[in-house]
Amino acid sequence: MGRNIIELKNLTKRFGDVTVVNNINLTIKENEFVTLLGPSGCGKTTTLRMIGGFEEPDEGQIFFEGKLLNPIPAYKRNINTVFQRYALFTHMNVFENIAFGLRIKKIPKDEIEKRVKRMLKLVDLEGFEKRNVDSLSGGQQQRVAIARALVNEPKVLLLDEPLGALDLKLRKEMQIELLDMQRSIGITFIYVTHDQEEALTMSDTVVVMNNGVIQQVGTPQDIYNEPINRFVADFIGESNIIEAVMLEDYKVAFDDVVLDCVDKGFAKNEPVDIVIRPEDIRIVTNPDEGMIKGTVKSVIFKGVHYEMMIESDTGREYMVHRTIAFPVGSYVGMNVQPFDIQVMKRGDPL
């Protein structure tokens, strides 16, 4: 990972008077796997389409290897796209679909043959050359779409929810295959999804968006462990988000408890939001040994763990994930380690 390959500067896109992408700044490095993550309608596709050249930004610049990309039409950009709905050419067979870009570039026939064959091998579709694309399964069509883009050896590949239409098992398989491809060919992936798990497992960098605004950019670990605001904390994984007050450095208070934390630099008595992940709350059978005391209200088996809702004496509900269950109605104590408490500036209430 080295040089910057794509830079977005103050990128804004409006449809009518709705601002869909709002003043986005983002730098993407060579060979990076970047994921745009956010709820439906937050502007992920629109951002991707501006990079691909299918939508003109209203404001701001897109740079590709340092050169301004805005005035260059889509067909001249060294960027390829895997579309949200594949968009295969139904009047052509698998081979011709993949060869489309190469034929336009007037690549010699035998080389086209070679490169398409190589791609078919990469996406595990050998022997499918002459099949009609309509006769393929969703997963196979999806792989044709990936091969059709990759065969052009673009420097950047844009993928818009490429696994959205697949069932869970195939999805997991394709995630691994995609990652393998990206690592072995060494190209930059800009990947769009609204599935947070997919984003966390695949990416080098996750860009969390909401309402056309970038909320946080960081590694999956950063995003998960140190969400910058309530939105990110809430969107990524499950969390207990609590409005609290920063008493002083390393001390945060809410309800009737005061907890030690590792954060500092806030003003005295500054209102903050804190995030405690459900798996970071430990339960002790002796309530007096817990920082917070509460009654188990419900227990649900989730496969790997039990999800318990525990209501504290002050009436606050905590979601707790543990591998052993405590019976409903039992009175227990809860403890949290200081480094498991993430303190965030108070944002707009959700």
Binding site: F54, P73, A74, A87, F89, I104
Partner: protein, 281 residues
């Protein structure tokens, strides 16, 4: 359940037998007989009327009909495709309005429209008066084949535009974006994606124009002044004026067979195109 459904189909079957199958057999019957049509007993088997069709005079009529139909279909295609393309590419808001402008003339009676052209094109018609007024040479195409062609193209153009437009407007925008994403400029996207995807529309447009064009009557009578009688006029004449139903029937059967052949050819083209995806080129 199945039985009730079948019973429901009976009226339609009866309808078909009475209005399609029986007349067809009658025509076939007349075409292979001779004698007085009002006296069934006098009818006897004969291929005389088919022999008559083979006379040079009538072969020319058939030839002319197919030639004019062919030319007018070609003109409709050349004019209609771009129109369909333009309409399919206009803003959704104005699309139906544009399409409607194109279709409104169909709602008017066919005969009326043809008479309208007659009064426009006639030697002392509106067009010529206008041309003389601004000092341009007169347009002397009526009566003649040019006027017949004009009448045909005018009448049948919407039937070319409509199916092509329908197919074009169904093409997924994202497929066109995929083409430009892969390096195709506008021309490449048109020739390699839009055009092949629109072939089914073109085929049904050609069929929908060619069929009425080849069997049309009235137009050549009114706009061509009867100079080039067409097969449709000929059939009309045999039934209404010459009262030779046997010959009229043979002409009809010949026309039908030729139409069936052309339709078979067209559907073959359509099918080949669709199978293209399954074949390596």
């Amino acid at each position: 359940m199945k039985k009730t459904l079948r019973i429901l189909a009976y009226p339609y079957v009866v309808w078909m037998v009475i209005f399609i199958v029986v007349p067809l057999f009658l025509i076939l019957f007349y075409s292979f007989t001779k004698g007085d049509i009002h006296d069934i007993g006098s009818l006897e088997f004969s291929v005389e009327s088919y022999k008559k069709v083979a006379e040079p005079l009538y072969l020319k009529v058939i030839g002319d009909s197919f030639l004019l139909a062919f030319i007018s279909t070609a003109i409709c295609l050349v004019l209609g495709y771009p129109v369909a393309l333009i309409i399919a590419n206009t803003d959704q808001k104005y699309r139906s309005l544009l399409m409607m402008l194109f279709l409104v003339p169909i709602w008017m009676n066919f005969l009326l429209r043809t008479y309208a052209w007659m009064s426009l094109l006639s030697p002392n018609g509106l067009i010529n008066r206008f041309l003389t007024a601004i000092g341009l040479p007169r347009l002397e195409i009526m009566p003649g084949n040019a006027a017949v062609l004009l009448g045909m193209v005018y009448n049948f153009l919407p039937f070319m535009v409509l199916p092509i437009y329908t197919v074009l407007s169904k093409i997924d925008k994202q497929v066109l974006e995929a083409s430009s994403d892969l390096g195709g400029n506008k021309v490449v996207t048109f020739t390699r994606v839009i055009l092949p995807l629109s072939i089914p529309g073109v085929v049904s447009g050609i069929t929908m124009v060619f069929l009425p064009a080849v069997s049309t009557f009235v137009i050549s009578g009114l706009l061509g002044g009867g100079k080039t009688p067409l097969i449709g006029d000929m059939i009309e004449q045999q039934f209404l004026f010459a009262r030779n139903w046997h010959f009229g029937s043979s002409l009809s059967i010949i026309l039908m067979v030729m139409i069936l052949i052309s339709m078979a050819v067209m559907s073959r083209i359509d099918k080949n195109n669709q199978e293209e995806g399954g074949k390596a080129r």
